[in-house]
Amino acid sequence: MTTSLENLMRKTRKENRAALIAYLPAGFPSQKGSRKALEVLAHAGVDAIEIGFPYSDPVMDGPIIQAAAEISLKSGTGAKDVFDTLNFVHELGLACVVMTYWNPIEKYGPQKFASEIARRGGSGVITPDLTIEESLGWSAATDAAQINRIYVVAPSTTDERLKAVVERCSGFVYAASLMGVTGGRTSVSSQAKDLVERIRSISQLPVAVGLGVSSRIQAREIAGYADGVIVGSAFIKVLLEAQNEEVGLAQLRELAEELVAGVREGR
């Protein structure tokens, strides 16, 4: 069985362009606002969505995603809301994955979590802090549910390890563009391209680049060599800083359209 994500990556390859993948935490900017924001992203032409499972101790995230997670958690977001949001995106017709730190999966039960992702129309899960050494149960669970297992690799990842991690990925490989946490940067580090090339030399899997992407210029640059461009903090920042949700959603639309154009200018 192929997932919607795999179908999408095949389609964008055929169209000779990169996919734009947007990240938003479930329950942000509010329970209702989250759905509106996702609709805006879908209508603007974003290709796929990562739903974040907001977590109390997000060590991979900078201040912007931390703030969004805190807002979401205060309003009581839990596993049920994450799955409902996933399903909402699925019904909008977009490929959708969940991005979560490991502990919420461990608490929910890895098998149950994976099968719920599949049942609600999700394509897979990105696990930024699950190492392959700890992933035996998760591999079995995701295989059984036939969903994609996406790991994040970093510029510091050795060749030997890169091979081992990439072998366990499906859907796409998440390449962290730099050494650091999430949050907008003004330029793309040269480490990103090197990492993508190293992955290409050992695997046919699509590669998506994330961390720090915030502008049309950056999206264009990355779309020149990667299969996917992942943007999170930049979208969240717009929603966080707007005077009200309505203004935020309008600005979100503008930014999304810019980035959608950016990924199409890459090649």
């Binding site: 109390s56 101790d57 060590v59 839990g78 490991w102 919420p104 608490k107 190492t131 510091s156 050494m179």
Partner: protein, 400 residues
């Protein structure tokens, strides 16, 4: 079941431990593990560490028999292992000197550390000054207020102190911020973690630097009393002073190992930091152990009068010792700890850290259970100078 002395395989203690970290940190953790393993086997490293322990820390730390305090502990013999007399005032220096030597060995020039009570931060800043390393200490904003004296000490020692304003603004958030710094600056920086938690190799490595506490104490108690103690008691924050004093006694199955957790307002109130007593199995800060968490796996904020014990996680080896039955863990409330604090001050002329007062409160309870013929070895992990303001507030001492 009796656990083996070295239960860890690939950084695991039974189902606990391991590594749950971003891939970006794997290289640094591998490098650290290799440095630790080679240092253990390197006589030059060992000699250098030994020299520092003798001439800088002031090891071995002495044993003080607390005879007047014993009257409040059922008449049991109470032997205090005086880690409070170490340079910088707590056991934390043992680990810090070891890791600072490893930092040098790895050719890194910058250390970062988290701190709750400030004791680990002070120890880290001390080692940084001694070795000429740049040092940044992350401390929850709430803790910078509770432990202002230690903030000043760290600054005097040349460290930069960053008050962390995220989340609960305590130790767990300081660790998050230190991990973020590490992910960003991993090439130049060693994360000098202050307890036996975090991803492998930290739980094993930090234990190895603290196990000297129990090795010394075992010999000292044998010499003083002619036999092994009936029980060894220590407070549990992340668990480093406890694993340090427990470790040499693990094969002595007749010796009870008892960890005293921070019960805060009482475990039943939910306002506590008793992770092993009141938590469930989960992953926090890179390791699988017991965690205070809700049904979604979100960490629940801990509560304790003691900043050094105010942590919703605990080292994985303690989780293993609990499950295997080799150690037991009990919760001590804020009030019980402060009563023990006051008792030690007035009966022995020793002002303990409020963290260590939890172990003393345990001795007051367990001494009564075990009776006058028993011998209890208690780890006095730190001195209480830093807690004078907290104690003055608690006891409503007039400072005017």
């Amino acid at each position: 079941m009796t656990p083996s002395i070295q239960p860890e395989i690939l950084g695991h203690f039974g189902p606990y431990g391991g590594r749950f970290v971003p891939e970006a940190l794997i290289g640094a953790l591998d490098e650290l593990e290799a440095a630790h393993i080679s240092a253990i086997a390197d006589p030059t490293f060992q000699a250098e560490l030994r020299e520092l322990q003798l001439t800088y820390t002031g090891r071995p730390s002495i044993i003080t028999e607390a005879k007047r305090f014993a009257e409040f502990a059922g008449g049991a013999r109470i032997l205090l292992k005086r880690e409070d007399l170490n340079h910088t005032g707590s056991h934390k220096i043992n680990n810090v000197l070891g890791q600072a030597l490893l930092t040098k060995r790895m050719g890194k020039k910058r250390i970062i550390a988290e701190t709750g009570a400030g004791q680990h931060g002070v120890a880290a800043a001390t080692a940084a000054a001694l070795f000429g390393l740049e040092c940044v200490v992350y401390m929850g904003e709430e803790d910078t207020r509770r432990q202002a004296l230690n903030v000043a000490r760290m600054k005097l020692l040349g460290a930069q102190v960053v008050a962390v304003k995220a989340g609960s603004r305590t130790l767990k958030d300081a660790i998050n911020e230190a991990m973020r710094d590490w992910v960003t600056n991993v090439e130049s920086t060693h994360y000098l973690l202050g307890t036996v938690a975090g991803p492998h190799p930290f739980p094993t490595m930090v234990r190895d630097f603290h196990k000297i506490i129990g090795e010394e104490a075992r010999d000292q108690v044998l010499e003083l009393t002619g036999r092994l103690p009936d029980a060894v008691l220590a407070c549990i924050g992340g668990g480093s002073n406890a694993i340090g004093i427990f470790h040499a006694f693990i094969p002595d199955t007749e010796v009870k190992l008892i960890g005293l957790e921070a019960g805060g307002d009482g475990v039943e109130t939910g306002r506590h930091a008793a992770t092993l007593t009141g938590g469930t199995v989960g992953v926090l800060h890179g390791t699988r152990s017991y965690v205070l968490q809700d049904e979604n796996g979100q960490t629940i904020e801990s509560h304790s009068i003691s900043a050094g014990l105010d942590y919703p996680g605990v080292g994985p080896e303690h989780a293993f010792l609990l499950d295997s039955g080799r150690a037991q863990y009990r919760a001590i409330t804020d009030d019980e700890a402060m009563n023990a604090f006051a008792t030690l001050c007035k009966t022995e002329g020793i002002i303990p850290a409020i963290e260590s007062a939890h172990a003393l409160a345990g001795a007051m309870i367990i001494g009564k259970e075990m009776g006058p013929n028993s011998i209890l070895l208690v780890n006095l992990s730190g001195r209480g100078d830093k807690d004078v303001q907290t104690a003055a507030d608690y006891f409503k001492i007039d400072l005017a």
